[in-house]
Amino acid sequence: MMLGILLIVVSIAAPGPAAPQTSTMDTAPGKKLFDGMCARCHGIDGTGDEGPSLNHPTLTRAPDADALRAVIRDGIPDRGMPRVRRLTENELDQLVAYVRSLGRTATAATRGNAERGRVIYDKLACASCHIVSGQGGSFGPDLSEIGVSRGAAYLRQSFLGPAEALPRGSSPVPGRGFTEYLPVRIVTADGREVRGVRINEDPFTIQLRDVGNRLHSFRKSDLKDLEKEFGKSLMPGFRGRLTDAEVEDLVAYLSSLRDAR
């Protein structure tokens, strides 16, 4: 079963020792493998997307070549990174050489100021729906470690236009690859309308939480209508409501959230 989507090789932005320049291997073959299997989550050139960026000198889950090799070979199943496919030793060498070369390129440093970003986070009342370090509302995703699992570009998109960036499932609920926080509109047999985000689903039932964070569970056969609103989000978008500098500050704050409880 080669399921699973989200590649989470944890990277650390904090300055670390430069990657040892031991490999003189040509990185082009590794880049081809990476572009096919890894870039969908880690971004072209490993700049991060739905999965974390990899263009750092030290990757915490893969601090050396052997550890990186193991992560690529086996995946990190509990964090949503699949073993995409079985690789030969030579293919592993090529991928390791390429991924480690990313740390030697200029890091796409976050330009914003995390402390100013935290103030914006509070001003926008993000905490009414998101938890950071145990504090906040639980309607939206827990952001305590969001800087570990998402790249800057994805974080930027997630608050500017969240409908275009609904996360695909990395957890077993509702299932690998499923759109999480998918808005769903339900009309019950007696005409009552309920709108909320999908929590889980099977062919016969569906579970939602409405914006008041109340759980609803339905048998599909009891419903008059069930609409999955792909391309929408119940989170407000902030495009046009923040200056460019504020956007970068907020990205910097979110990227700094690396709570390792």
Binding site: I5, L33, T179
Partner: protein, 528 residues
């Protein structure tokens, strides 16, 4: 002593039937309370003639008992029931006998599996046992075939089918015929040379071996290049079917090795991705039909071949049908192997059409690449090992169908004994972009009669019954019953773990039951 023995036999009439002699399996329909072979009968109908559970009362179905396996791993077992005892397998290669009235274990047997066992190409699972006379037969992940006393679980014999160091292993239920235990191997992902074996049920001595990959000089060898046949794959990893009247065994074969890069093996690569018909007497191949010549997507043709008779163009014919992993439903003449028809039963993007001889005309740009090529069906196919069902009542072929695409990657081939020899792989397009259905196909043509949609691609088999029902399961843990004529859902229950097994039905004390494994448990349902 002898008198006492005779007396005991006279007092327990059940003992007279305790031997599962071959004629009983061949006439399985005449004793529907039992389920004597993997797919219910030699024709692989997975149909129960029992009709106590009906469209009208199925909504009242309730658990009779539940058995929890004691090991982690995927439970893909398909139970056998004979004379009050159910025989199941637990991952990886354990056999357990259960009292069908209570669910209480009667015995359990676990072979010693070496810690360095090589299982490449599937999880370490087992799909069931065969029974013949007073012996139960199981294949193991370390490549053995073991005969157990049906009453006690004691080992009668234990032989190595082939060397697990090279990746040979067994997950499928053997097929028991008169004087023959037939078993196929897994291991194409390790670059094995596939085969089908027959063993003497009494002694474990090998009677014949038929390779699925011809050696130089043998028919079909010209479809390989150089030494590529030596690592040619062609596993026979799922249970086949048998026509007692024609005395022919039908068995599907798997992918060529390496899976996703065919550069080293130009040619059709016979007899991979094929259906082969052979004599159980000597293993000689009577005919073959290759569904996917020179496969490069891992579309094994190991799916269950289903035997039935039907009328094609006004002519009564003996047929064999397969809902192939490559998304086409094929109908062949099972006497001759003549291709009769093929229709897609799921989304496919790889073939323009199937020509008059049954050969696919491929679309360009569907081969795996370094960057990934999106192709339907997915890497695990529109179908896979979970069983279809054929109802002689409705004449419909029921297939749990997987609607999903995969980005196929081409990698480099590198053969080392006992290691993966796959040269690529795939990334399935899952989540909300994939789905599934139980489909009812007109058996002689493959035309869609109805479908019942599922949220995700299923890995559960289906069972049809004379009560007018089709049972199936989902990855989300639902077990459900549909109207066999219309597909209308009539009952469902959440079992709390993925259903990755085949349902079956049996009766005891005059009551019908339906059994299915889900998660780490086996569930048995009956009417209150």
């Amino acid at each position: 002593m002898r008198l006492a023995l005779l007396f005991a036999i006279a007092l327990s009439p059940l003992n007279l039937f305790a031997q599962v002699a071959p004629p009983r399996i061949a006439a399985a329909e005449s004793e529907p309370a039992n389920w004597l072979t993997y797919s219910g009968n030699y024709q692989s109908h997975r149909f129960s003639p029992l009709k106590q559970i009906t469209r009208e009362n199925v909504a009242r179905l309730t658990p009779a008992w539940i058995y929890q396996v004691r090991r982690t791993g995927i439970v893909e077992t398909s139970p056998i029931v004979a004379d009050g005892v159910m025989y199941i397998t637990e991952p990886p290669s354990t056999v357990t006998a259960l009292d069908v009235r209570s669910g209480r274990p009667l015995w359990t047997y676990s072979p010693t599996i070496p810690t360095d066992v090589i299982v490449i190409g599937s999880p370490p699972v087992n799909r069931g046992v065969a029974i013949l006379d007073d012996t139960v037969f199981v294949g193991t992940v370390h490549g053995h075939l073991i005969a157990l006393d049906a009453k006690s679980g004691a080992v009668r014999w234990n032989i190595a089918v082939d060397d697990n160091k090279f990746g040979y292993y067994v997950t499928s239920a053997p097929l028991a015929l008169a004087g023959r235990i037939i078993v196929g191997v897994s291991g194409a992902e390790a670059g094995i040379r596939g085969f089908l074996d027959a063993y003497d049920p009494k002694t474990g001595a090998r009677v014949w071996r038929t390779h699925t990959i011809p050696a130089p000089g043998e028919a079909g060898a010209d479809t390989w290049s150089g030494d590529s046949w030596k690592t040619g794959g062609g596993s026979a990893w799922l249970t086949g079917s048998y026509d007692p009247a024609l005395n022919l065994v039908y068995w599907g074969t798997g992918n060529p090795g390496p899976d996703w890069n065919g550069d080293l093996r130009p040619g059709d690569n016979l007899y991979t991705c094929s259906l082969i018909a052979l004599s159980p007497v000597d293993g000689k191949m009577k005919w073959h039909f290759q569904f996917t010549p020179h496969d490069i997507h891992d579309w094994d043709a190991n799916e269950i071949p289903v035997l039935f008779d039907g009328t094609i163009n006004g002519r009564a014919r003996k047929l064999v049908a397969m809902a192939n992993r490559n998304a086409f439903y094929y109908v062949l003449d099972r006497e001759t192997g003549e291709f009769l028809s093929a229709l897609p039963y799921a989304k496919q993007t790889w073939a323009e059409r199937i020509d008059a001889k049954g050969r696919p005309i491929r679309r360009p740009d569907t081969a795996p690449t370094l960057e990934g090529t999106l192709v339907f069906p997915n890497i695990q196919g529109a179908s896979n090992w979970p069983s279809p069902s054929y109802s002689p009542q409705t004449k419909l072929f029921y297939q749990a169908t997987r609607e999903m695409g995969t980005y196929f990657f081409k990698g480099e081939p590198s053969y080392k004994p006992g290691e993966a020899f796959v040269a690529g792989g795939g990334r399935a397009v899952n989540g909300d972009d994939a789905w599934g259905a139980v489909r009812a196909l007109e058996s002689t043509t493959g035309k869609l009669k109805w479908e019942f949609k599922l949220l995700t691609p299923p890995m559960s088999g289906v069972l049809s019954t004379a009560g007018g029902l089709v049972f199936g399961g989902t990855d989300e843990g639902n077990f459900f019953a549909l109207d066999a004529e219309t597909g209308r859902p009539l009952w469902d229950l959440q079992l709390g773990g993925a259903v990755r097994a085949n349902p079956m039905s049996f009766a005891v004390d005059g009551k019908q039951y339906v059994a299915i494994a889900a998660g780490y448990s086996l569930f048995v349902f009956g009417l209150p």
